[in-house]
Subunit: 183 residues, 2 copies
DNA sequence: GATATACTTGAGTCAATTAGTCGGGCTTGC
DNA sequence: GCAAGCCCGACTAATTGACTCAAGTATATC
């Protein structure tokens, strides 16, 4: 299981979509604006999500994306698997001869327990545990959680704090080229 | 928590060291040969392990590395933390808008939401779970496991199995032995 | 004290991967 | 038939991970 910002972007975007799915198709342009993710990048992400039947697209004016399944049946693991393609993180490719392949400068020496990677089980188990957790979290849970949060901060605002709308998170690290990260 | 091959190499090398620690200092050159890891790279790794008090070095002829603590007190998490430096995997790095509210408890939806980073808790919890698992596995367990494996393959050879080089694959896959199940 | 062994350090190289961008197509509602 | 919006594949700049090199320093033994 690979964990990159790509997967995180995808989860964030999916929460955004799920939050407003009821009002018909949601455009990528809108998600892009709200979440501060570039439109081109979102297209790339949602192309994969669509091919994995997590979302559906509606073309033409008034189009956009909608959920392809109920929120309860979409897990974080599904989303990450969809955008991050290759899924194994055991690092020794599921085979036992982890060390030999690709090693420069000759393989292993004789007289040693070779033929299997001493740490294989360790990584395999870790991988399984990570997967189990991500599979246990559904989009429905994240949406509910986010709704709670929004309600709470709204309450705080009414208590006197100035409104902050359109909160945009900048996932990018400083020093990247291209358009500066929003406001 | 970062997971790279560097961490994997380090764990592998540590198991190798632990397996022969009793016979005095083990040289990096020997580990390098047995495990097929370049000497220079091992030097880099063990420099960090030493600075984190996981191993001790003995200089001069007959020198090498020894364990600085007992096998029971060294966890996989320790080793990985030593070589892969800090960096948490929540990905919404400390600096960004993602206002982390001194998270330790880890429970979802804590008070005072900042409306930012909708996925922070998700990654923070995942991170915690990974850490918990890696912390639950000690070097002692891995060594025991490896000794079992070696004994088993030796027995297989003596039992008249046509000595197929040293390519002995572990058929039984009973998960990781000796690892306490974490919640 | 010369010498060989082995640890120590830090800077440097190189290739793979990531995180995007660009630009042109296709579909469909109005 | 135009424009909103999805669709798709090629392209690329940075970053990072993996690994090397070279020049040390410390110490045991003869």
């Amino acid at each position: 299981m690979r964990l990159t910002t790509k997967g995180r972007f995808a989860v964030t975007a999916m929460i955004d979509l799920a939050l407003r799915d009821e009002g018909g198709p949601v455009t990528l342009a809108a998600i892009s604006e709200r979440q501060g993710i570039s439109l081109s990048y979102l297209e790339q992400l949602f192309g994969k999500l669509r091919r994995h039947s997590i979302v559906e697209s509606v073309r033409g004016p008034g189009g956009g994306y909608t959920m392809a399944r109920t929120l309860e049946t979409v897990t974080v693991a599904d989303i990450i698997a969809a955008v991050d393609e290759p899924l194994d993180a055991t690092m020794c490719g599921g085979k036992e001869d982890c060390h030999e392949t690709g090693r420069v400068g000759g393989g292993l020496q004789e007289g040693t327990p070779k033929g299997q990677c001493m740490t294989h089980d360790l990584w395999a188990t870790l991988n399984k545990k990570m997967h189990e957790y991500l599979e246990s979290v559904t989009l429905a849970q994240l949406v509910r959680q986010q709704r709670d949060r929004m309600a709470a901060s709204q309450a705080a605002q009414q208590a006197g704090a100035p409104a902050v709308q359109n909160v945009i998170v900048d996932h990018r690290k400083p020093g990247v080229r291209g358009t500066p990260a929003i406001a």
